[in-house]
């Protein structure tokens, strides 16, 4: 206990150097907590967004469907099995039919996915209802052949709108291959541009009435996959269709978040190393400069162990002071970030992970405790190492201050 009292006096007495070290350490605390808080907040938000827009509570995939293989896409749809048809009509699952197509922004070809969706579905947040705004005479979902002179309504996300220079009300041509392999074309009208944080349901795709797409592909009653809504429970397997649970659909993103955390750790490792070097240096220097003081402590009857602990505690106290100083400016900062969120720089949403315009950090108690303990333990070790030298000093030499 006495070591703490004395260490406190010594540290405060040492002035500027102490505060410099303390400030650097406190900065590391705050930076680590803030950064991991951002990543956790991002992860949390991305999970919510992906669930709402893309993954639902899981999906059924037609057995040939592979989201990374466009070449097999044309064989990846099949007739809807009866159980899913029933669930679909109850609105607890919703079918999606996917086909390849191309658009021509500025006369240049750009491939994309056409996704057929049921307008009145409530399973995902895609504003499919907008597809239903056509007149009664020409109901939405009519095959293109019957729609001569009428554009097919489509809904796109803001990323797609940007890359194809389209806005609401615009009309453009799309082309696709029909079953015979010959190209077909039609005019589409953008009836809605939606805002969404999930690039996977936005970039390079157009949403269209599922029946229209079925007509275009000559695939009546078929689907590529189903998204499962909240209240759907089924134990039997559906032959020809594979169940993909929520965790599977999230695994890619979670993996990426983990990588980001690991990447961040390397950065902090280096930062910590620098801070520890500063503390180590301070310790070595102070033990060298304070030999006479050490000799005096011993002359006054402190044991060597006491002197070693005094210097160790002095070093470790940097980390304790850093918690206090860090709290003074860090807590307001962290709370402010939690409230206002961090605005992500433009372009950062092309990383493939759902990312909102602002990320609201989430700070776990575990994160804070681990960070504080880790820095404290490392600082203590770094402080102890040079202090050990004291126990080998001869008190007479220390008093003369002549150890080199």
């Amino acid at each position: 206990m006495i070591a703490f009292k004395l260490a406190w006096r010594n540290l405060i007495g040492a002035g500027l150097r102490t505060w410099l070290n303390v400030f650097v350490l406190s900065f590391i605390y705050i930076l680590i907590i803030w950064h991991y808080g951002i990543l956790d907040g991002w992860n949390h938000q991305a999970n919510i967004d992906m669930k709402a827009w893309e993954a639902g509570n899981g999906q059924y995939w037609q057995q040939n469907y592979d989201p990374y293989d466009f070449f097999t896409l044309e064989e990846s749809h099949a007739k809807i099995p009866e159980v899913l048809q029933k669930a679909s009509s109850e609105g607890v699952v919703t079918p999606i039919l996917i086909s390849q197509a191309s658009v021509y922004p500025d006369g240049r070809i750009q491939s994309m996915l056409l996704k057929g969706i049921i307008p009145d579905q409530k399973v995902v947040a895609i504003p499919s209802a907008e597809l239903d705004t056509e007149s009664e005479a020409m109901p939405a979902g009519s095959p293109p052949a019957e729609r001569t002179g009428q554009e097919i309504p489509v809904v796109i996300g803001r990323r797609m709108a940007k890359s194809c220079k389209l806005k609401e009300g615009d009309i453009t041509t799309i082309r696709w291959r029909d079953v015979n392999g010959t190209f077909d074309a039609a005019e589409v009208k953008v009836v809605k541009v939606f805002n969404c944080n999930v690039p996977n349901v936005d970039a390079g795709q157009m949403y269209i009435h599922i029946n229209t797409l079925r007509e275009m592909m000559q695939a009546p009653g078929e689907a590529t996959m189903f998204i499962i809504g909240k209240d759907f429970e089924m134990n039997e397997t559906v032959s020809g269709w594979e169940y993909k649970d929520y965790d599977f659909l999230m695994s890619e993103m979670n993996e990426m978040m983990k990588m980001k955390k690991v990447g961040g750790s390397f950065f902090y490792l280096i930062l910590m190393l620098l801070a520890m070097l500063a503390i180590f240096d301070t310790q070595v220097l102070s033990i060298f400069r304070r030999q006479k003081e050490i000799g005096t402590y011993i002359a006054m009857g402190m044991t060597r162990t006491q002197v070693v602990s005094l210097f160790t505690v002095e070093g470790a106290m940097h980390a304790i002071l850093a918690v206090i100083i860090g709290a003074i400016y860090g807590i307001p900062f962290l709370l402010w970030q939690m409230k206002t969120g961090m605005t992500m720089p433009a372009g950062s949403d092309d990383m493939g992970i759902a990312i909102a315009e602002s990320i609201f950090p989430v700070y776990g108690v575990g994160l804070i405790i681990t960070t504080v303990l880790l820095v404290l333990i490392i600082t203590t070790i770094v402080s102890y190492m040079p202090a050990r030298k004291i126990s080998k000093m001869k008190p007479t030499d220390a008093l003369k201050g002549k150890i080199q």
């Binding site: 006096r9 000799g295 009857g301 044991t303 007479t396």
Partner: protein, 232 residues
């Protein structure tokens, strides 16, 4: 006389390794000190005064022979027991004061009492008493850098005396002080010696100190060449 001695030194030899050989700094010292002595070890530079004082203070150990302090043979003590001996029974005064620079006068004087784990109120009383002995009650909050040399040494005396140790060892306490200050602190120590029966042992070649001594032990080349009791 032997059994009542507070310090007994017998056939003490101290050799230091120098290069490949050895240097004999103390060569067969025999001495005994009684409680309440006001003694000085004098002699030319290099005669071994500091070395002897360090061995008595258990900061150093003899190569041969014995130094028994407060009934404990210092050569046989573990570093922990030696620390305890110093903590409980010994006070040191140094030529260079050796005050802790970041501490105030009060905190410097309080330090030995913290090691003895005295309570707050015991400490406060003892520190105030000690500062009164040396006449520094008005400088309680000053730091060493703000004090004169004489004042620093008075703080050091207060620090050595605050726990009322049996023995005070003072190595050249006046070397950095002017005449007036030297007389001043010696009078102070003499008074404490008489009031508290503290044994004082000096190492010095300062005539101003020697004038006050009640016993003068002359060292030359590591040997006691004269040991005289002075009656005034």
């Amino acid at each position: 006389m032997e059994q009542s001695s507070i310090i007994t030194i017998k056939e003490l030899i101290k050799r230091f390794p120098v290069g490949k050989g050895e240097f004999t700094a103390l060569n067969g010292i025999n001495l005994a000190f009684n409680t309440g002595e006001f003694a000085g070890i004098v002699g030319p530079s290099g005669s071994g005064k500091t070395t002897l004082l360090n061995i008595i203070g258990s900061l150093d150990t003899a190569t041969e022979g014995k130094a028994v302090v407060m009934g404990q043979s210092t050569g046989d003590l573990t570093t922990k027991s030696a620390a305890k001996l110093r903590r409980m029974h010994l006070g040191f005064i140094f030529q260079t004061y050796n005050l802790l620079p970041v501490y105030t006068v009060y905190e410097n004087v309080e330090f030995p009492l913290l090691l003895l784990k005295l309570s707050d109120s015991e400490r406060r009383k003892a520190v105030n008493d000690a500062l009164e002995w040396v006449g520094l009650t008005d400088k309680i909050k000053s730091r060493p850098a703000q004090l004169s040399g004489g004042e620093c040494q008075r703080v050091a005396i207060a620090r050595a005396m605050v726990k009322k140790p049996e023995i005070v060892l003072a190595d050249e306490p006046t070397a950095n002080l002017d005449a007036a200050n030297s007389h001043n602190i010696l009078k102070m120590m003499l008074k404490l010696n008489e009031e508290l029966k503290t044994t004082f042992i000096f190492a010095t070649h300062d005539d101003k100190v020697i004038k006050y001594l009640k016993r003068k032990i002359t060292l030359e080349d590591g040997k006691v060449v004269k040991d005289e009791f002075i009656t005034k």
